[in-house]
């Protein structure tokens, strides 16, 4: 009886990621989001025809990590820039990667109109309820009562308004083909997130309109928690406010079995 086992690779860097070491803080979920997108690009074989649009935020250097063509937008303008690219090159896969300040605050106009037009782009929206890059100010997604460096006593909705639920908001628009919210706080949710990323790209490939996956994410550094505590905080505080779910799924997508 032969008892030797052949070595089997079960986990490696997706081809769509470069060898560059990521600059994200330890435990930051930006890295997970990058990896999931890259895995899906590999699986779909779209790396060579994808063009990414990076935001201004902690993921400003996303273009260093994806092994595909990339451009870097002004703060919040990624959907407009992606629109320009997609309109010139309709058969390329164009995606943006944006934080909550980028997408839901300064870039609110651009994202709403991209969705409204049914722009055939895919948007990966990292909602970490804070401005990571500028070291922890209040974001439009900061939860009521959440302390940040610009809401030091906690977000007071009387003066600072209420958090924005972007997936729900954009799903209302007729141009949206696929709009869902997922979370990156545990393996099960990460697997669900990956499927959603796949469906977002499928939406674009099939010309079904605007697609967005909102990814609930952590920012341990600016939340002032350990990476593990951050995952718990996300689960306990963010998910009740930002429920995981499908808010818009075009009929043609429902037949896709992954």
């Amino acid at each position: 009886m032969d008892t030797t086992l052949s070595a089997q690779i079960v986990y490696q860097r997706p081809q769509s990621l470069t060898e560059a070491t990521m600059h994200y803080c330890p435990g930051c979920t930006h890295g997970i989001a990058h990896r999931l997108i890259a895995e899906v690009m590999d699986e779909m074989g779209i790396r060579e025809r994808s063009i990414g649009v990076a935001p201004v935020g902690c993921s400003v250097f996303a273009y260093n990590y994806f092994d595909c063509d990339f451009v870097e937008a002004a703060h919040g303008r990624a959907p407009a820039m992606a629109t320009g690219i997609k309109r010139l090159l309709p058969d390329r896969i164009v995606f943006t990667y944006q934080g909550d300040g980028d997408l839901a605050s300064i870039g609110m106009g651009e994202i709403v109109h991209a969705a409204g037009r049914g722009e055939n782009i895919s948007v990966f929206f990292i909602n970490n309820a804070i401005y990571g890059m500028t070291s922890g100010q209040m974001a439009p997604t900061t939860l009521p009562g959440q302390k940040t460096t610009s809401s030091p006593r906690g977000r007071d909705v009387e003066t600072m308004g209420y958090p924005l639920r972007m997936a729900e908001l954009l799903a209302n628009l007729d141009g949206a083909g696929y709009v869902v919210r997922r979370s990156l706080h545990d393996p099960k949710n990460i697997r669900m997130a990956k499927k959603a990323i796949r469906l977002a790209f499928e939406t674009q490939l099939r010309g079904l309109g605007f697609s967005m996956v909102e990814l609930l994410s952590t920012c341990s550094t600016n939340w002032g928690l350990s990476p593990l505590e951050s995952l718990k905080w996300l689960e306990e505080h963010m998910i009740p406010y930002y429920p995981i779910g499908d808010f818009k799924v075009a009929d043609a997508l429902k037949e896709i079995k992954l």
């Binding site: 937008a73 002004a74 303008r77 320009g84 309109r87 106009g109 651009e110």
Partner: protein, 374 residues
């Protein structure tokens, strides 16, 4: 191709299409809107990209993305819209991608009005967006020149990987004149080595305006300045009228230059030795030509449809060596040839001081013209 009666805005739009325009992104604003409307009809019919953006902020960023594909792309707007585009302009400059922008300037500041003006000179020629960058700025004085400059704009933008503005005014945009359009050029079939179009069988490409290490950003700025030096050395354009024996030279661009030409002709008929220098490139500025004139003229008269924005550039060249006078109308008012003629006549009669501020002297003379009450 034969001459036809063409409206400036439409002529500029069609000229861009014939220059091989692949994508247009814009937002309606008077007095530029016919340009966008023409694009909305023609571009889709030709299978090219047209999009009415939700704002000028979006339009310029769509243009930015489209330019990254290496295609010929443009937007157009008028003053308040150009103000909104300043963010994108700075990013485009920092990324070194070519774009063409038509500004049909209107009266300001603020909402102002829709009458012709040259009040955007400073915000375009001297930046507006953050950082050091220099767009090429072309100023047509007729519909035909607008057509020719739009075509040239694309060639220059690609040659230098820079922003090229065609700065017209409401007058050029709205006026109808006989003019000839260029033949249709094919869309380009090869794209530049930096274009982001998908990494098919090649290394990935990145287009960005970030150089996080100041050392790299300084090198980038140096490269931008070197390109600008080349542009300054090679691309100055202007028209001269009656300069051979002129002892007084009027300097004016666009519509103001055209009106000044009528005044110069009238003055010549009276025997006054006056000529006109009409800058076509406001940036690079025809400083060497002005410098040459200083040696042999008695004085300059700068005429603009603003409060003397180009005047400052003229003064910088002249450096007090000969008298400079200024005459401008503002806020959408257009000077009549007679007003400029009166200035020329006055300069031929009076001794104009070398010192003092031409803008202050002009304000005193303008006060009764506009019925200013204090």
């Amino acid at each position: 191709m034969a001459k036809e009666l063409l409206k400036g805005n439409i002529a500029m739009a069609e000229a861009a299409i014939r220059a091989g325009l692949e994508g247009y992104f814009g937002y309606p604003i008077t007095p530029q809107t016919e340009l966008l409307e023409w694009m909305s009809e023609r571009m889709p019919a030709l299978g090219r990209a047209f999009l009415q953006a939700e704002s000028e902020v979006a339009a310029i960023n769509m243009l930015y993305g489209a330019a990254c594909t290496g295609a010929r792309v443009m937007t157009s707007s008028s003053s308040p819209g150009i103000s909104l585009m300043m963010e994108g302009l700075s990013y485009i400059a920092g990324t070194e991608v070519p774009v063409v922008i038509i500004d049909v300037v209107r009266g300001g500041p603020g909402l102002g009005n829709i009458a012709p003006s040259q009040g955007d000179y400073n915000q375009i020629v001297h930046g507006g967006g953050h950082g050091d960058y220099h767009p090429i700025v072309l100023a047509p004085a007729s519909v035909q020149e607008a057509i020719d400059l739009v075509v040239l704009a694309f060639d220059l933008a690609e040659k230098y990987r820079t922003i090229v503005f065609v700065m017209a005014d409401g007058n050029i945009g709205q006026m109808m004149e006989p003019a000839e359009l260029p033949p249709m050029r094919p869309i380009k079939s090869e794209y530049p080595h930096w274009a982001v179009r998908g990494a098919m069988g090649r290394e990935r490409r990145i287009l960005s305006s970030i150089y996080i290490d100041p050392k790299d950003e300084e090198v980038t700025n140096y490269r931008l300045m070197q390109v600008w030096n080349q542009i300054q050395a090679n691309e100055v354009r202007y028209r001269e009228y009656f300069l051979e024996d002129a002892d007084t030279v009027v300097i004016g661009f666009g519509t103001a230059g055209r009106i000044a030409l009528s005044a110069v002709r009238a003055a010549r008929a009276e025997g006054i030795k006056v000529g006109l220098l009409r800058p076509i490139t406001l940036s690079p500025f025809p400083a060497p030509q002005i410098e040459n004139l200083i040696q042999r003229v008695k004085g300059f008269l700068v005429v603009e449809m603003n409060a003397g924005q180009m005047l400052d550039d003229v003064l910088k060249v002249v450096k007090g060596r000969v008298p400079v006078e200024f005459y401008g109308r503002m806020g959408g008012m257009v000077p009549f040839p007679d007003e400029i003629l009166a200035e020329i006549q006055r300069m031929s009669r009076e001794d104009i001081p070398l010192d003092g501020d031409p803008r202050q002297r002009w304000m005193k003379r303008l006060a009764p013209v506009i019925h200013w009450q204090n």
